[in-house]
Amino acid sequence: MNIREMVEVLNGKILVQNHDPDEELPRGGAADLMSDVLAFGSEGMVLLTGLTNPQVVRTAEMAGINVIVFVRDKTPPPETLELARDSCISLIRTGYTMYEACGRLYQAGLPGRGPVRIENNSW
Protein backbone atom coordinates (compact mmCIF):
# COMPACT_ATOMS: atom_id res chain seq x y z
CA MET A 1 0.00 0.00 0.00
CA ASN A 2 1.34 3.45 -0.78
CA ILE A 3 0.66 6.75 0.95
CA ARG A 4 -1.97 7.81 -1.57
CA GLU A 5 -3.93 4.56 -1.13
CA MET A 6 -3.70 4.82 2.63
CA VAL A 7 -5.09 8.35 2.61
CA GLU A 8 -7.98 7.07 0.48
CA VAL A 9 -8.74 4.13 2.78
CA LEU A 10 -8.72 6.46 5.78
CA ASN A 11 -10.66 9.17 4.00
CA GLY A 12 -7.85 11.29 5.33
CA LYS A 13 -6.31 14.66 4.71
CA ILE A 14 -2.62 15.36 4.28
CA LEU A 15 -1.56 18.08 6.70
CA VAL A 16 2.16 18.07 6.01
CA GLN A 17 3.54 16.32 2.98
CA ASN A 18 7.18 15.42 3.01
CA HIS A 19 6.96 12.21 1.00
CA ASP A 20 5.98 11.11 -2.44
CA PRO A 21 2.36 9.87 -2.42
CA ASP A 22 3.54 6.81 -4.36
CA GLU A 23 5.96 5.80 -1.61
CA GLU A 24 5.24 2.28 -0.38
CA LEU A 25 4.44 1.73 3.28
CA PRO A 26 5.86 -1.51 4.70
CA ARG A 27 3.57 -1.83 7.72
CA GLY A 28 1.31 -0.12 10.20
CA GLY A 29 1.39 0.34 13.93
CA ALA A 30 -0.74 2.14 16.50
CA ALA A 31 0.20 3.54 19.89
CA ASP A 32 -0.27 6.41 22.30
CA LEU A 33 2.72 5.63 24.45
CA MET A 34 5.92 7.03 23.08
CA SER A 35 8.13 4.36 24.68
CA ASP A 36 6.06 1.79 22.83
CA VAL A 37 6.70 3.59 19.55
CA LEU A 38 10.42 3.77 20.29
CA ALA A 39 10.52 0.09 21.15
CA PHE A 40 8.37 -1.30 18.33
CA GLY A 41 8.41 1.36 15.68
CA SER A 42 10.31 0.22 12.63
CA GLU A 43 11.83 2.15 9.74
CA GLY A 44 9.10 3.35 7.44
CA MET A 45 6.18 2.19 9.58
CA VAL A 46 3.02 4.30 9.57
CA LEU A 47 2.17 5.39 13.09
CA LEU A 48 -1.47 5.84 14.03
CA THR A 49 -1.86 7.82 17.22
CA GLY A 50 -4.34 9.82 19.24
CA LEU A 51 -1.71 12.28 20.43
CA THR A 52 -0.88 15.45 18.50
CA ASN A 53 1.81 17.16 20.60
CA PRO A 54 5.22 17.92 19.05
CA GLN A 55 6.78 15.05 21.02
CA VAL A 56 4.99 12.62 18.71
CA VAL A 57 6.99 14.04 15.80
CA ARG A 58 10.22 13.87 17.80
CA THR A 59 9.48 10.28 18.75
CA ALA A 60 8.77 9.37 15.14
CA GLU A 61 12.00 11.02 14.06
CA MET A 62 13.94 8.95 16.60
CA ALA A 63 12.20 5.72 15.60
CA GLY A 64 12.72 6.28 11.88
CA ILE A 65 9.01 6.68 11.23
CA ASN A 66 8.16 8.94 8.29
CA VAL A 67 4.38 9.10 8.31
CA ILE A 68 2.06 9.83 11.25
CA VAL A 69 -1.73 9.54 11.14
CA PHE A 70 -3.73 11.48 13.73
CA VAL A 71 -6.98 9.70 14.49
CA ARG A 72 -10.40 11.04 15.53
CA ASP A 73 -10.00 14.19 13.45
CA LYS A 74 -7.58 15.78 15.87
CA THR A 75 -5.94 18.92 14.58
CA PRO A 76 -2.36 19.21 15.74
CA PRO A 77 -1.11 22.51 17.17
CA PRO A 78 1.03 24.71 14.87
CA GLU A 79 4.24 23.66 16.69
CA THR A 80 3.62 20.07 15.64
CA LEU A 81 3.16 21.05 11.98
CA GLU A 82 6.23 23.23 12.16
CA LEU A 83 8.39 20.49 13.65
CA ALA A 84 7.14 17.96 11.08
CA ARG A 85 8.13 20.27 8.22
CA ASP A 86 11.50 20.66 9.82
CA SER A 87 12.08 16.98 10.53
CA CYS A 88 10.84 15.68 7.19
CA ILE A 89 7.84 13.82 8.65
CA SER A 90 4.50 13.64 6.82
CA LEU A 91 1.31 14.20 8.80
CA ILE A 92 -2.14 12.90 7.92
CA ARG A 93 -5.47 13.29 9.69
CA THR A 94 -8.42 10.90 9.67
CA GLY A 95 -11.86 11.06 11.23
CA TYR A 96 -11.81 7.38 12.19
CA THR A 97 -10.97 6.18 15.68
CA MET A 98 -7.67 4.40 16.17
CA TYR A 99 -9.54 1.10 16.25
CA GLU A 100 -11.39 1.68 13.01
CA ALA A 101 -8.39 3.20 11.22
CA CYS A 102 -6.35 0.09 12.11
CA GLY A 103 -9.23 -2.13 11.05
CA ARG A 104 -9.63 -0.51 7.65
CA LEU A 105 -5.92 -0.45 6.84
CA TYR A 106 -5.42 -4.05 7.93
CA GLN A 107 -8.46 -5.08 5.90
CA ALA A 108 -7.02 -3.22 2.90
CA GLY A 109 -3.83 -5.24 3.16
CA LEU A 110 -1.36 -3.16 5.16
CA PRO A 111 0.41 -5.67 7.44
CA GLY A 112 1.50 -5.23 11.05
CA ARG A 113 4.72 -6.34 12.67
CA GLY A 114 3.46 -9.71 13.91
CA PRO A 115 3.46 -11.15 17.42
CA VAL A 116 5.74 -9.64 20.02
CA ARG A 117 8.13 -11.72 22.06
CA ILE A 118 8.94 -10.11 25.35
CA GLU A 119 10.27 -11.11 28.69
CA ASN A 120 9.26 -9.89 32.07
CA ASN A 121 6.64 -7.45 30.74
CA SER A 122 9.46 -5.44 29.26
CA TRP A 123 9.92 -4.84 25.59
Binding site: A30, A31, C102
Partner: protein, 115 residues
Protein backbone atom coordinates in the same frame (compact mmCIF):
# COMPACT_ATOMS: atom_id res chain seq x y z
CA UNK B 1 -23.91 -9.59 11.20
CA UNK B 2 -24.93 -11.87 14.03
CA UNK B 3 -24.09 -11.12 17.63
CA UNK B 4 -20.41 -11.41 18.55
CA UNK B 5 -19.45 -12.54 22.02
CA UNK B 6 -16.18 -12.27 23.91
CA UNK B 7 -15.77 -16.03 23.67
CA UNK B 8 -15.79 -15.71 19.87
CA UNK B 9 -12.90 -13.24 20.05
CA UNK B 10 -10.95 -15.46 22.43
CA UNK B 11 -11.27 -18.34 19.96
CA UNK B 12 -10.67 -16.40 16.75
CA UNK B 13 -7.66 -14.45 18.02
CA UNK B 14 -6.29 -17.11 20.33
CA UNK B 15 -6.43 -14.79 23.35
CA UNK B 16 -5.52 -15.88 26.84
CA UNK B 17 -8.03 -14.95 29.52
CA UNK B 18 -6.45 -13.47 32.66
CA UNK B 19 -9.60 -12.52 34.54
CA UNK B 20 -13.38 -12.67 34.27
CA UNK B 21 -13.56 -16.01 32.45
CA UNK B 22 -17.11 -16.45 33.81
CA UNK B 23 -18.23 -13.41 31.78
CA UNK B 24 -17.22 -14.54 28.28
CA UNK B 25 -20.82 -14.65 27.07
CA UNK B 26 -20.95 -10.84 27.08
CA UNK B 27 -21.62 -9.47 23.65
CA UNK B 28 -19.25 -7.09 21.93
CA UNK B 29 -20.72 -4.18 20.00
CA UNK B 30 -17.59 -2.26 19.06
CA UNK B 31 -13.90 -1.74 19.53
CA UNK B 32 -11.77 1.04 20.98
CA UNK B 33 -7.99 1.30 20.95
CA UNK B 34 -6.14 3.75 23.17
CA UNK B 35 -3.43 3.86 25.78
CA UNK B 36 -4.66 7.07 27.39
CA UNK B 37 -7.12 6.44 30.17
CA UNK B 38 -8.74 9.88 29.93
CA UNK B 39 -9.36 9.31 26.21
CA UNK B 40 -11.03 5.97 26.90
CA UNK B 41 -13.19 7.43 29.66
CA UNK B 42 -14.32 10.22 27.36
CA UNK B 43 -14.72 8.41 24.05
CA UNK B 44 -15.27 4.68 24.38
CA UNK B 45 -18.80 3.32 24.18
CA UNK B 46 -20.64 0.77 26.25
CA UNK B 47 -20.07 -2.72 24.85
CA UNK B 48 -16.70 -1.85 23.26
CA UNK B 49 -13.79 -4.18 23.68
CA UNK B 50 -10.78 -2.06 24.66
CA UNK B 51 -7.29 -2.61 23.25
CA UNK B 52 -4.42 -1.24 25.32
CA UNK B 53 -0.94 -1.99 26.50
CA UNK B 54 -1.54 -0.46 29.92
CA UNK B 55 -1.29 -3.01 32.71
CA UNK B 56 -2.13 -0.92 35.72
CA UNK B 57 -5.24 -1.70 37.78
CA UNK B 58 -6.76 1.64 36.75
CA UNK B 59 -7.72 0.01 33.44
CA UNK B 60 -10.22 -2.15 35.32
CA UNK B 61 -11.86 0.89 36.86
CA UNK B 62 -12.14 2.54 33.45
CA UNK B 63 -13.65 -0.57 31.84
CA UNK B 64 -16.10 -0.92 34.72
CA UNK B 65 -17.03 2.77 34.63
CA UNK B 66 -17.80 2.76 30.90
CA UNK B 67 -19.45 -0.67 30.86
CA UNK B 68 -16.94 -1.97 28.35
CA UNK B 69 -17.31 -5.56 27.19
CA UNK B 70 -13.71 -6.33 28.11
CA UNK B 71 -10.05 -5.42 27.88
CA UNK B 72 -7.44 -6.91 25.55
CA UNK B 73 -3.86 -6.28 26.67
CA UNK B 74 -1.66 -6.27 23.59
CA UNK B 75 2.03 -6.70 22.75
CA UNK B 76 2.38 -9.91 24.72
CA UNK B 77 2.29 -8.18 28.08
CA UNK B 78 0.67 -9.53 31.23
CA UNK B 79 -1.56 -7.58 33.61
CA UNK B 80 -0.24 -6.82 37.07
CA UNK B 81 -1.41 -9.03 39.93
CA UNK B 82 -3.48 -6.21 41.43
CA UNK B 83 -5.17 -5.70 38.07
CA UNK B 84 -6.22 -9.35 37.85
CA UNK B 85 -7.55 -9.31 41.39
CA UNK B 86 -9.58 -6.17 40.86
CA UNK B 87 -10.93 -7.46 37.56
CA UNK B 88 -12.08 -10.68 39.22
CA UNK B 89 -13.86 -8.69 41.94
CA UNK B 90 -15.65 -6.44 39.49
CA UNK B 91 -16.38 -9.04 36.83
CA UNK B 92 -14.29 -7.27 34.19
CA UNK B 93 -12.89 -9.56 31.50
CA UNK B 94 -9.15 -9.14 30.88
CA UNK B 95 -7.64 -10.94 27.89
CA UNK B 96 -4.12 -10.90 26.41
CA UNK B 97 -2.70 -11.09 22.91
CA UNK B 98 0.85 -11.42 21.65
CA UNK B 99 0.01 -9.11 18.76
CA UNK B 100 0.29 -5.33 18.74
CA UNK B 101 -2.72 -3.03 18.78
CA UNK B 102 -2.68 -2.56 15.03
CA UNK B 103 -3.13 -6.23 14.23
CA UNK B 104 -5.53 -7.03 17.05
CA UNK B 105 -7.74 -4.19 15.82
CA UNK B 106 -7.33 -5.38 12.25
CA UNK B 107 -8.40 -8.91 13.09
CA UNK B 108 -11.34 -7.84 15.24
CA UNK B 109 -12.52 -5.50 12.52
CA UNK B 110 -12.20 -8.31 10.02
CA UNK B 111 -14.41 -10.46 12.28
CA UNK B 112 -17.03 -7.74 12.10
CA UNK B 113 -16.52 -6.03 15.45
CA UNK B 114 -17.46 -2.37 15.14
CA UNK B 115 -18.48 -2.50 11.48
Amino acid sequence: MSEIKLVDLVQALDLTVSAGSQELEKSVTGGYASDLLSDVIANSKEGDVWLTLQLHQNIVAVAFLNNLAGIIIVNGRQPEEATIQKAQEQGVVVMCSAFPTYEVAGRLYHLGVGR
